[in-house]
């Protein structure tokens, strides 16, 4: 018996050496990767997965293919739970996310789950928030809206594409809070199935103001039916949106990017996480990705790795505080 032991341990040792030596080399993704889009085909997350997947393959970052898997449910909660429980260590998996994901995490809408259960890779652009009115509206700028709300929080009613308490609703409240409007919970918000339905109601004169993303308004902006009072970005956006004033210019320092990005499973090994971070960095700089951004109305917004993780923590915290403020959560 004793005789054999050394042989066994030698074998074991060399096996572990072999394992070690492979992990010394930089991480190479498996031939194929998988991207979970936590919604049905056709939406924003589906777009993120498909466009990034295709570019990664076209530019040879991934040798095989990147398969997009649609996993709808609970506004991303089903996919989040799946990633946390069943795919804990999968290094070849990325999951599309956006501000909607952090909003729900912040409000505890993924029961028992939190942002630190996954690793946040990075963003590849953002859709900035806008507040707009119909061309016949008496409001000419954001301050007039805020002044009206200060006098009577029920006087301006907003329509948006997210559920009550969702990102479109929160944007208005963030701006109102910044403008020192009291009684935030009294501001009326009408929730529609998507930005376009909400826009029609505003342009048709049924609801006072629209809250949504810049990518949703192009049609009505071109037709002149819509007056955009403010875009919630750091500085003015590139053409053709450069005529829209920012909220900051008007003295209301609210920034509301709906970023588009990814997370990977919490147990993914650090090498693979770093590979995804670097790859997203490189991808963001390519002309191929730049042209996809222009074509789809994505605005510059790039954070990866540690910086992105801190951003997610901060955003989650802000949303949680605001949600408590307005009585949405306790």
């Amino acid at each position: 018996m004793l005789k054999y032991l050394p042989v066994k341990s030698v074998l074991a040792f060399s096996a572990s050496l072999a394992l070690l030596s492979t992990s010394v080399y930089a991480y190479e993704p498996a031939r194929s990767a998988e991207c979970i889009a936590p919604a049905n085909p056709g939406g924003g997350w589906d777009f993120t997965c498909r466009s990034v997947g295709k570019t990664l393959v076209d530019l040879d970052y991934v040798k095989g293919n990147v398969k997009t898997v649609n996993m709808s449910g609970a506004g991303g909660g089903v996919a989040f739970a799946h990633t946390v429980t069943k795919r804990k260590k999968d290094s070849a998996l990325i999951v599309a996310a956006s501000t909607a994901t952090t909003t729900r995490l912040a409000q505890g809408q993924f029961p028992g789950m939190s942002a630190d259960q996954v690793k946040w890779v990075g963003t590849l652009g953002a859709d900035y928030g806008v507040i707009a009115v119909s061309k016949n509206s008496p409001y000419q700028n954001l301050n007039q809206v805020m002044d009206a709300l200060k006098k009577d929080p029920k006087s301006v009613k907003f329509a948006g594409g997210s559920a009550s308490g969702g990102w479109d609703h929160l944007k208005v409240l963030l701006a109102a809070k910044e403008a020192k409007v009291d009684n935030l919970p009294q501001i009326k918000y009408l929730s529609f199935n998507g930005g376009s339905e909400a826009l029609v109601q505003v342009v048709g004169g049924h609801v006072d103001a629209f809250t949504g993303d810049i990518s949703e308004i192009k049609g009505f902006l071109d037709s002149g039916d819509l007056r955009v009072l403010a875009v919630l970005s750091e500085s003015r956006l590139p053409k053709p949106f450069d005529t829209i004033p920012t909220a900051i210019e008007q003295g209301i320092g609210t920034i509301a990017p709906n970023w588009r990005g990814f997370y990977v499973p919490g147990g993914a090994d650090p090498e693979s996480y770093q590979w995804w971070v670097n790859t997203i960095d490189e991808l963001y700089a390519t002309p191929e990705w730049k042209s996809i951004m222009v074509k789809n109305g994505l605005m510059p917004f790039h954070k990866t790795g540690e910086e992105f993780t801190q951003f997610v923590d901060q955003q989650t915290l802000n949303i949680r505080l605001l949600s408590i403020d307005i009585g949405l959560i306790k």
Binding site: A39, N40, P41, G42, G43, V69, N70, M71, S72, G73, A74, G75, G77, V78, A81, Q109, F110, P111, K154, K157, A163, S164, G165, G166, K188, L190, S191, F192, N193, G194, S196, E197, V200, Q201, V203, G204, G205, H206, V207, G219, L328
Partner: protein, 502 residues
């Protein structure tokens, strides 16, 4: 003129190789399903929705496939009516009246050919009607605020009984069941979860598609098991076709009248294809009078109801596409499909998804032409397909349904739900509660609730907002008429239909 440009763009979409092959595939599958007794267009589309998902089709391709299935099923319904005297679905009932006598006289091929031509004319004219009417209705888009939408949904519910008819109380039960299922999930007006018990998969509510596939397709499987219906239908022979130009000209005016009547009854919410085929046949009998041999195998008696029910099928697409309110069971199923593809039907569809809408309309033309070309020379093949034992078909249907549902969400729970809805569908059908109102309740209930709450938010709680515009008052009036008229007219119509078919 603008419309013409859009239509040409639509043809550019519909005539691509991909669209064309899906139109042909849909037409063939639809005809086959329509021909099987008992499987109407709503079942046909419901059974094939999973196919679109499992193939991972784009929204445009999915819709082209399914509208072709719809058109095909309307065509197919006549085959078993004529050859076996068993209507594939209710609208095909009137076709039995003269179709079967023709087949008995050894003129089955002629009856099939005439009905194919009449079906084509019906669909063709109605599609032109759709093209003219839909953009006009869509222009009303901006007039619809929450209170008008609420009145519109009330109208849709009021006319539900008209669609499926016989027992208003059972229709009410079915609709209530749909509304109850629809209340599961997040309430978007308050952000609160209802009846979800912390089960993540329920947070967004029950998926319409799962409910539809379960209720229609899986329940069909249970019926099949129950009946031990393993064998195919009786074999029937079809004679060689002898159709002269004179015969075609004879049925032309009949088909045109039927097409227009059918289209009108299709557009009216609640009326649908059964009424289309019924009034076309009745009117034709009045117009022709004693010169015809109606009931004993008159060609015009085959042409009229076929033009009528196919016209109604295209007409029913008008309210579905423009207002998001389906006019029939099948369009309800198509509506659910659109919603799950992230396409919001209703006024904005024509502006935001112009290529999709016009692509589908153009595909309707293409599909109908394909159906005509398929149905005349290949009718023998369809007749042969009729004798394929269901024991080979049903497992395929079940497999496609399961794969399709799984590929939507990759969740096993959805498969349990599908089977659950299958059991529910089986039970409901056993006690003769119609399935379509369940689906309509699920589809329209949340929208109606949302509209009401929005209207009241806007008015700060004043209920008078529901009647504050001419449009909403008009819609309320139509809703009330839609509720009352079928109670008076419905039994009369059905009694006459019964009388005639016996």
């Amino acid at each position: 003129m603008e419309t013409l440009g859009f239509l040409l763009d639509g043809f550019a979409v519909a005539l691509t190789l991909e669209s064309l092959s899906f139109a042909i595939l849909g037409a063939i599958l639809g005809t086959l399903i329509g021909a099987l007794p008992g499987l109407g267009p709503a079942n046909g589309v419901a059974i094939l929705i999973p196919l679109a998902f499992s193939l991972g089709l784009s929204p445009t391709s999915s819709l082209i496939l399914l509208t072709s299935v719809y058109a095909g099923a309307m065509y197919g319904g006549r085959i078993s009516s004529i050859l076996l005297n068993i209507p594939g679905d209710e609208p095909a009932m009137m076709t039995c009246l003269d179709g079967y006598p023709m087949a008995q006289k050894g003129k089955a091929a002629e009856a099939l050919a005439i009905s194919a031509i009449a079906s084509f004319i019906g669909s063709f004219i109605a599609t032109i009607g759709l093209i003219i009417l839909a953009p006009i209705l869509a222009k009303f888009a901006l007039k619809f605020g929450p209170s008008e939408y609420f009145a519109l949904f009330a109208l849709a519910f009021a006319t539900l009984g008209g669609i499926t008819g016989k027992n208003q109380f059972k229709t009410l039960i079915a609709a209530a069941l749909g509304l109850m299922i629809a209340s599961i999930g997040i309430d978007i007006s308050s952000g609160v979860q209802r009846y979800t018990y912390d089960i993540l998969e329920l947070f967004e509510g029950v998926d319409f598609i799962i409910a539809i596939v379960g209720l229609f397709a899986i329940s069909e499987l249970f019926f099949f098991i129950e009946k031990h219906a393993g064998d195919g239908l009786a074999k029937t022979k079809v004679n060689r076709l002898k159709l002269s130009m004179k015969d075609i000209l004879l049925v032309m005016p009949t088909s045109l009248r039927g097409a227009i009547l059918g289209f009108i009854s299709g557009v009216l919410p609640g009326a649908g294809a059964s009424l289309g085929s019924f009034i076309s046949y009745t009117l034709e009998k009045k117009v022709i009078g004693d010169k015809g041999t109606f009931g004993q195998g008159d060609m015009r008696g085959v042409a009229a109801p076929e033009a009528g029910n196919n016209g109604a099928a295209s007409g029913a697409l008008v309210p579905m596409l423009t207002l998001g309110v389906p006019g029939s069971g099948t369009t309800a199923v198509l509506l659910a499909m659109l919603v799950s593809l992230n396409i919001t039907p209703g006024p904005m569809l024509f502006q935001q998804n112009a290529d999709l809408v016009w692509g589908v309309i153009a595909a309707l033309f293409v599909g109908n032409l394909v159906l005509l070309l398929l149905n005349i020379p290949m009718v023998g093949i369809f007749v042969k397909l009729l004798s394929i034992p269901p024991k080979y078909l049903m497992p395929i249907v079940t497999l496609v349904a399961a794969v399709g549902i799984y590929s939507v969400s990759h969740s096993a729970l959805d498969l349990y739900f599908m089977v659950g809805f299958g059991v529910l569908g089986y039970v409901l059908r056993k006690v003769q509660i119609p399935l379509v109102p369940v689906i309509l309740g699920m589809l329209l209930g949340p929208e109606m609730e949302k509209s009401l709450r929005h209207a009241l938010l806007l008015s700060d709680g004043d209920w008078a907002i529901l009647f504050n515009s001419g449009l909403s008052i008009t819609l309320w009036v139509v809703a009330i008429l839609g509720l009352i008229l079928p109670m008076i007219v419905g039994p009369l119509v059905r009694a006459k239909m019964q009388q005639k078919t016996n």
